[in-house]
Amino acid sequence: MIRWTEVRILVPQGWQELVAERVCAGPCTSAAFGRSSLAAEAVPEGFEMVRAFLPDRSDTPEVRAAIEDDLAQLAALTEAPELDGLRIEWRELPPEDYANSWKKSWKPFRVGRLLLLPPWKDWTPRADEVRLTIQPGGAFGSGRHATTRTCLRALSQRIAGGERVLDAGSGSGVLSVAAALLGAESCLGFDVDANAAFIADELAQDNGVASRCEFRGGDFGVLGPDDSSYDVVLANIYSDIIQAHAADLSERLAASGWFMFSGCPDRHAPETRAAIEAAGLRITEERPRGRWYTFIGRKADAGS
């Protein structure tokens, strides 16, 4: 396993990019700025910490001398006296398999009947448990956000099997895929993010429910006249979008169906609640979690 030496240089604010480039011209190939971790000591005001890394095979006295010489000349070359006397700290890092060590912090977790686990974990589900494999940590989250957990829990309690599900702002597709795994007949998700449909398709494939999940890129305009009368309408998105599109969501809900809208910060709950009710929907349950609200309900004219 390669060992690394961290090359730390405290640099006057603004000059960090140049110093990083000078150091990276040698065997260090890239640099980080700032503290090594959230717990590390703060950088003094008016300075930036440049951290470059030398593989052990290149960490020789000659290489160190070359880096020190180069930085020693920098004040004269740039005509910037504040770069005079830049001090380099060399720290030999303990060996670590960086390609895999981050995985240690990703443990499987349960939400209701669902067991969410990363692809590299083998785990025996309990008898009544439904396994959802998800690659953690991309731009669309990993199912761990408070609102996603609330939605997953509600799905695991409410999906009875055979439902048609609409998922507005489907992102990673985790809610649709969970609904399909729990027994929904079909799920249609859409998201304005250009990459979302591709990522959600992959998630559905990885979980063996691609034939029951469809994801489209775009807003409500991607829905056709047949995309209506859904048994379940989901929206785990920004509260202002829920407010603006409450009527669009309501229009696509079957008379006997139920909705779940989440992603609403508690400070926006009153106006979001009002917009949902104004769209002809009746809230039957509110699930606060942390500073987030989730609204569940039916059509206002539906029976109880």
């Binding site: 960090q16 980080a32 959230l38 930036e48 593989p55 960086y98 956000h145």
Partner: protein
Amino acid sequence: MAKEVTGKIKLQCPAGQATPAPPVGPALGSHGVNIAEFVKQFNDRTRDQMGLIIPVEISVYKDRSFDFILKSPPASVLLLKAAKLQKGSGMVGFETVGKVNRAQLEEIANIKMQDLNARDVEHAVRIIAGTARSMGIEVEG
């Protein structure tokens, strides 16, 4: 659903060639970020700029998901372009390979101002001028 940012990480990585090795590994690993996914996405997005070191800022969220933005190209790249050069001097101090004027410095300073975290435009201009000199590019005026 707005996500709470728990960390901002700034790196300079070779376009199309980032690996889980430092600085990516230790910088992101301490936040529990999926390093393989970052490396894949960064390399996909920078493949057409191979040969350049690209500044990138990564936002890590409370649920340990992340996204990142590619920052403006390094000042050295912008200076080479302004001076119509392919590369800087190999013998800085002995050889001048090109020139930039005050207006060009100001233009680059404005592009780089935020990324450099410079105090003001004048501070940014001094840094860009210093970067030019360190590459063997003469600063006029």
